[in-house]
């Protein structure tokens, strides 16, 4: 059984994100980039399934600029078998990524597609669901546990107020939540081996997908700085301010 895992290049989660001086975008110059943490969990899960003998090949795909190949290599160092880079300029939105991934799914015919539930740059939480619809596959989102059982997949989902267990028919789509697993580090010998693993580069035209943006980003601004607090005289004044200035109680 073949597993396809999508990984995205994002600003490293340790970096404090800043807006560019002209407010046009997030500052990406000289900023450390990494695999989106949820995608890392997706890679880990696929590699564990391979180690358990359930999955025979782990293919990792990234849609993005040329630099995304760094993240594909990292995924290969974590244990994936080969990589596919769908090269696009700029930053495509979730629907475009989902369409491109659909193109890869058509070509690769995986039984299982694993994605992060969201990426920490746009926080959209859409790509997996959109891919599910486009590829006409069942989906188990926010997975905290998955188990392959013959030609079906059991997914335990983290939902408000508890856990939900789903049974999906394969091929299916899973998006990962934080508690699915704790990803390993790439060991140094595996980093060396990753250099020799195949990485195929393709593009929207080759996949027969037209990339068209529907959203325009107008600007990026940091949240307002927190102003200094004040000391209130008594409870009555506090209630008054909450009611009439902050307007949080009525």
């Amino acid at each position: 059984m073949k597993a396809l895992v999508a990984v995205k290049r994002v600003v490293d989660y340790n970096v404090k994100v800043r807006a560019k001086a002209d407010g046009s975008d997030v500052e990406l110059n000289n900023v450390k980039m990494a695999i989106n943490p949820f995608c890392e969990i997706a890679v880990e899960e696929a590699v564990r399934l391979k180690e358990a003998g359930t999955v025979s090949e782990v293919v990792v795909v990234s849609v993005g600029e040329k630099s995304s190949q760094e993240q594909i290599r990292t995924a290969l160092a974590l244990g994936a078998d080969r990589g596919i880079h769908v090269e696009v300029e700029g930053r495509p939105e979730p629907l475009e990524i989902a369409k491109l991934l659909k193109g890869v799914v058509d070509k690769e015919q995986p039984q299982l597609v694993i994605l992060g539930k969201q990426s920490i740059d746009g926080d959209n939480n859409q790509t997996g669901q959109m891919l599910g619809a486009l590829a006409n596959m069942g989906q188990g989102t926010f997975a905290s546990e998955i188990k392959v059982d013959g030609d079906s997949l059991q997914v335990i989902r983290e939902v408000d107020g508890g856990l939900q267990t789903l049974k999906l028919t394969l091929p299916a789509i899973v998006t990962t939540d934080l508690r699915l697993n704790e990803p390993r580090y790439a060991s140094l010998p595996n980093i060396m081996k990753a250099k020799k693993k195949p990485l195929e580069v393709t593009n929207p035209a080759e996949l027969g997908v037209e990339v068209k943006s529907h959203v325009t980003q107008l600007g990026v601004a940091p949240p307002p700085e927190r102003a200094a607090g004040i000391k209130v005289e008594d409870v009555a004044q506090l209630v008054d301010k909450l009611k009439n200035e902050a307007k949080v109680i009525s």
Partner: protein, 388 residues
């Protein structure tokens, strides 16, 4: 400095991720409790950190000194401070010696196990009467028909408690002779009944024990001899630059961590009207320290690249000694100023500065003193006459 390769970026990312998992609090607790950082060392072993320079065919990563210094710097800067440095450095020396000197299949197997992190190897050279002057050691191996018998004493031998092998440096006497024919290296199994040791209480790095070691009638088979009989120094020579640059990279990493903490503190802490980082009495020393660390790091990278290229050994050795000297001076100054930035808090354990200060002191003493790097620069780079 040229940009890092994709592989190097991944190696650094792995080292940083590992270092972050074992952050300053981990090391503070272990230092206070004098507890061995077992989980950290195990993680190093499992991720292949002891095999960086071991050929891929033997399970290592087949990389050079340029990669090794990146790893050491990232482990220290990423959260470990000095903590990782001593264990990693003295854990690597034996392995790196074997990379150059292992010959028989048995010795290659030993190297495989070390590269895979299945075993750790300690390193015993220093003696009470021979630290700086290694040729003066008196521990002696006497050749016999089928084996060697070794007697003597060492001191400051680090991590015998948790190592399964020991690379032991001795004088050697050929069978029938009472004259030394030079130094020889032996790979010895630990624990070993003929070896007894007691830790020497010390100033810092209380995670690792450095021991006084007594060697009484230790019998080892001929296969334990590493390299040629009496040519032990030649087997150690290829690791000399590495030893200097590992210390230098550890010093820079430790100092960068201390500096980053101090900068954060100085932005935040207001004593009079403005953050203390706005006072030039705080800002300039930190800025100067940063500049010196950057300069030192460039020298380390250059020295490592020269060593990897192997085309100009004299210049590589000179640069390694200069980089070690400059890096350690810069690191000590940085840790001094970082501690000062914290005021009284600098003296409190919970802020880590006092620990990093204690740790950075080791780098001017071991495995090589600052004076010996100056001797090297004076004699071999400047061509001044030798006095000793």
């Amino acid at each position: 400095m040229t940009a890092l390769t994709e592989t190097q970026l991944m190696v650094v990312a792995t080292a940083e991720a590992l270092a972050q998992r074992f952050g300053p609090e981990y090391w503070r607790e272990h230092d206070e409790n004098e507890a061995y950082p077992e989980a950290f060392i195990n993680a190093l072993c499992e991720s292949g950190f002891f095999g960086v320079t071991v050929p891929e065919a033997l399970g290592g990563s087949g990389q050079g000194l340029s990669d090794l210094v990146l790893v050491m710097e990232a482990l220290c800067r990423g959260g470990g401070g000095g903590g990782p440095a001593l264990g990693y450095l003295f854990g690597l020396l034996g392995t790196m010696t074997l990379v150059h000197a292992a010959e028989s299949e048995h010795q290659q197997d030993e190297l495989k196990a070390l590269a895979a992190g299945e075993r750790l190897c300690a390193f015993a050279l220093s003696e009470p009467d021979a630290g700086t002057n290694s040729f003066n050691i008196s521990t002696t191996a006497i050749e016999r028909e089928d084996d060697f018998i070794i007697n003597g004493a060492k001191w400051f031998i680090t991590n015998l408690q948790h190592s399964q092998r020991l690379l032991l440096v001795t004088q050697t006497q050929r069978a029938g002779s009472t004259e030394s024919c030079g130094l020889s290296l032996f790979l010895v199994n630990l624990p070993n009944e003929a070896l007894t040791f007691t830790p020497t209480p010390k100033h810092g790095f209380n995670y690792y024990k450095s021991n006084q070691l007594f060697i009484d009638d230790l019998v080892v088979p001929k296969s334990a001899l590493i390299g040629e009989l009496g040519k032990g120094f030649a087997s150690l020579a290829p690791t000399l630059n590495a030893e200097r640059l590992l210390v230098a990279a550890g010093a820079v990493g430790t100092a960068r961590l201390a500096l980053r903490a101090a900068v954060t503190y100085a932005k935040d802490r207001v004593v009079f009207r403005a953050p203390i980082g706005s006072h030039q009495a705080i800002q300039h020393p930190l800025a100067g320290a940063h500049a010196k660390l950057e300069a030192a790091w460039l020298m380390i990278a250059e020295a490592a690249a020269l060593d990897d290229a192997g085309t100009n050994p004299e210049r590589a050795a000179g640069m390694a000694n200069m980089a070690k000297y400059v890096a350690v001076e810069a690191a000590i100054e940085t840790c001094y100023q970082s501690l000062q930035t914290y005021g009284g808090a600098g003296y409190a354990r919970e802020y880590h500065q006092e620990r990093w200060w204690r740790e950075v002191q080791l780098f001017r003493l071991a495995p090589l003193t600052q004076q010996m790097t100056l001797n090297f620069i004076g004699q071999h780079v400047l061509g001044l006459p030798k006095s000793y």
